[in-house]
């Protein structure tokens, strides 16, 4: 019989193949660290500018035991996560309904589209002075800055996702006798979900990236604070550790959201 159901391709691959690319990636990371060790070990670059992996590791141990600027490392990480997640979640929570509304009602879309379009290419850091003037140097201005960045990405993706729902799917829904509201919640929204989640993923990445900028605003704790503070006093290993922690947590967030996405949207891109 020619008309066979489709077998998932991934399952057909051999176990050896499955490990091939992760292994290459792992080797790439090890290689990068080796290169770093080589450059510093041979004295090609002064350790004042680029500390060796060993130095960074030793200093990391010190920071883990003693903390940084009177706060344990975990407190810095906690503050950063708190600011980034609250800004991110607030942004996404508002952006999804606004984005859906923008595409559902074209007048609303026409009103807000140019505003968001204007703000999007402006780097969030440019708003720091205004944020301080308007909202002071407390948590509000930091979270608002992250919120704005997060909002911008999800709102446009949600609107675009709704607009790209195939006409035929909407017709199939009306044909089945769905009300406008049912059509919106049970057909258009799930069909737009892949695009919306792409926006959410970008928002998460941007929120975490804007964090350092937000923590430039008179923070007393946080990973961004460690980096700027250590930079001011030329404690380069500490700067490195701050960057490393931000990078690792960023990867973790990306991984979590991707895993969530794969579970939720296993059907996506296959029909």
């Amino acid at each position: 019989m020619i008309d066979k159901p489709q077998t998932p391709r991934r399952r057909q691959r051999f176990a050896a193949d499955r490990w091939r690319y992760p292994l290459i990636s792992f080797a790439s990371v090890v290689g990068m660290i080796c290169l770093w060790a080589l450059v510093t070990g041979l004295g090609l670059v002064s350790s004042r500018v680029l500390p060796s992996p060993g130095e960074v590791l030793v200093q990391a141990g010190y920071l883990i035991r003693n903390g940084y600027a009177d706060n344990p490392l975990i407190v810095h990480i906690g503050w950063s996560l708190f600011r980034a997640t609250s800004g991110f979640l607030l942004g996404v929570a508002l952006a999804i309904p606004v984005g859906l509304l923008m595409s559902y009602n074209r007048t609303i879309g026409a009103i807000v589209q140019p505003i968001f379009g204007f703000f999007r290419p402006i780097p969030p850091i440019a708003f720091i002075p205004l944020m301080i003037v308007w909202f002071g140097i407390g948590e509000t201005s930091k979270i608002l800055l992250i919120f704005a960045a997060s909002f911008n990405y999800t709102v446009l993706n949600s609107a675009a996702g709704m607009r790209s729902v195939p006409e035929q799917l909407i017709r199939a829904g009306t044909n089945l006798g769905l009300t406008r509201w049912q059509l919106f919640t049970s057909v258009m929204f799930p069909a737009a979900l892949p695009a919306i989640l792409t926006g959410v993923k970008m928002s998460a990445a941007v929120s975490w990236a804007v964090l350092v900028a937000a923590e430039l605003i008179a923070a007393q704790a946080g990973l961004g604070f460690i980096i700027t503070d250590a930079g001011t006093f030329f404690r380069i290993p500490d700067v490195f550790i701050g960057i490393l922690i931000i990078g690792v947590i960023g990867l973790g967030i990306e991984f979590l959201i991707s895993a969530f996405e794969r579970r939720l949207l296993h059907w996506q891109g296959k029909v």
Binding site: P5, L176, G177
Partner: protein
């Protein structure tokens, strides 16, 4: 019950330039599709076949003329006239069973009522082993079978099929045609079937209409002289071949003219 009457139905699409008269897609089409009948509509691509179907479905409204179903003028789309689309418009995030029960569920039909129907229609289209699969795990033919079952779930008096087997390979298409006739003999819906495959039109239809090139008019009507149930053997029957020849001739005039 499921009688469709088109009375001088015209559809004009506005053009971009203001002042222009617009494009006439369908021009004064009058036809009657009787209860339990299968009528096939063939014609060159772009002749307005799908526009006729979309107007009966209620997705579009005629510019002039009127369409009645069981003597009532249609107002918008509804589950009494189920459409089977060419590309399977299935909900990718739902399993086969969820897709099929979607309409009744959303209209508030009690579960006890639709569950039995679902099992029955899944069985009727031969998808028993795939009820909990997702559309992406199915072949093209299976997806179309899901669409047919989803349509039947709503107990429509009318099935509107817009080249539903056009994208399938030859052998699958034959199987689907036989399946459709089997489903028809069991539930007897009125069917408007659009195709550009003349074999398919004769094999399925009680009557075949040929449409002219744009502006789309009904050009000619052919009665198919085979009783149902039919099987593949009629495909080589001399009467079949003669009819096919006449229909092809009618279409070819359109392509040449």
């Amino acid at each position: 019950m499921g009688t469709i009457v088109l009375d001088a139905v015209t559809k004009v699409y506005p053009t971009a330039e203001s002042g222009a008269a617009g494009i006439v897609a369908v021009d004064h089409v009058a036809m009657t599709i009787r209860d339990h009948e299968i009528v096939c509509l063939v014609g060159p691509s772009g002749c307005g076949k799908s526009t006729v179907l979309n107007m009966i479905a209620g997705f579009e409204s005629p510019t002039e003329g009127r369409i009645t179903v069981s003597d009532k003028e249609i107002r918008g789309a509804g589950p009494d006239r189920m459409v089977v689309f060419q590309s399977p418009a299935l909900f990718g995030w739902m399993t086969v069973r969820q897709n099929i029960t979607f309409g009744p569920r959303k209209r508030g039909v009690p579960k006890s009522q639709y569950e039995n129907d679902a099992t029955r229609f899944i069985n009727a289209v031969g998808l028993d082993d795939f009820a909990s699969h997702y559309p992406y795990q199915l072949s093209g033919g299976m997806r179309q079978r899901v669409q047919i079952a989803r349509a039947l779930m709503n107990r429509p008096e009318i099935l509107l099929m817009d080249e539903p087997f056009g994208a399938l390979d030859f052998q699958t298409r034959l199987l689907m045609q036989e399946l459709l006739l089997k489903v028809w003999s069991e539930f007897k819906p009125t069917i408007l079937f659009i195709t550009h495959d003349v074999d398919e039109a004769i094999f399925l239809g009680d009557r075949v209409y040929v449409m002219s090139r744009r502006p789309g008019r009904l050009k000619e009507q052919f009665d198919v002289p085979f009783a149902k149930p039919r099987n593949m053997e009629i495909l080589t029957d001399p009467q079949f071949v003669t009819l096919k020849d006449r229909i092809l001739h009618s279409i070819r005039e359109e392509l040449a003219g």
